[in-house]
């Protein structure tokens, strides 16, 4: 426990805002290029956020625990 005071939270939690910013603003990824293996950017960008978000949650879990 790195945050002994009640109600306190570790600032590492803020990295969990990244998927919200990255995915909820469509103009960030509403385009076909650059494509990877024929997949338009629109698709692989969203899919890449699946493992990326898992990783961010893992980091918060490890650091804030």
């Amino acid at each position: 426990m790195t945050t002994p005071k009640s109600g306190g939270w570790h600032p590492i939690w803020l990295i969990l805002l990244l998927p919200y910013i990255a995915l909820l603003w469509l103009p960030f990824y509403n385009q076909a290029m650059p494509n990877v293996l024929g997949f338009p950017f629109f698709y692989w960008y969203q899919f890449i956020w699946v493992p990326l978000t898992s990783l961010l949650i893992y980091v918060v879990y490890k650091v804030a625990k």
């Binding site: 995915l23 629109f42 969203q46 978000t53 898992s54 949650i57």
Partner: protein, 166 residues
């Protein structure tokens, strides 16, 4: 029912998994027998589920008829709009991670079983927990209806045409 329309491979896969899951269900019910007169045994598996079983349960929650039938159908019909499902699923997880462990901890400590139990335990009262319980039941109904329609589509996809039950 038109026999010629049945795809034998798809039907074989369907029947094999149906049999497998049915047998697995009977095996599981004998594996760790619980006292089903206890509500927490019946509803929560006696609170014995660890990380691995929970992982499979969450997987089962996600890969439903909605995910494998409705979302692809939406993508086929309207294109990339159907992709709302992907960001939505991704951003649910940080919320779950932030809330659920705390909820679990309180429910485990105070023996709450449902969301309504939790609300009653934390806030007391009679009507507020009742409203939570009723909201939960009503909100689940369209989702169950969606699953039934999804199953109907799956069975039709196998080439079996039955009279619609919905």
């Amino acid at each position: 029912m038109n026999i010629d329309a049945i795809n034998p491979i798809a039907m074989a896969v369907f029947l094999a998994f149906f049999a497998f899951v049915t047998i697995l269900g009977f095996v599981a019910s004998r594996w760790k027998r619980g006292d089903l007169t206890q509500l927490h045994e019946w509803g929560l598996g006696g609170r014995q589920f660890g990380g691995v079983i929970t992982w499979f349960l969450v997987g089962g929650d996600f890969y439903t008829a909605y995910t494998v039938i409705a979302v692809p159908a939406l993508v086929y019909s309207v294109g990339a709009y159907g992709f709302f499902a992907l960001p939505y699923t991704i951003i649910v997880y940080p919320v779950v991670f932030a809330i659920m462990p705390k909820l679990w901890e309180v429910c485990h400590r105070k023996n709450h079983i449902t969301a309504a139990d939790f609300v009653q335990g934390e806030h007391g009262g009679k009507w507020f927990p009742a409203a939570i319980a009723i909201t939960g039941i009503i909100a689940t109904m369209p989702y169950i209806a969606l699953q039934l329609i999804g199953m109907q589509v799956v069975i039709k996809g196998l080439g079996v045409f039955l009279v619609s039950f919905l």
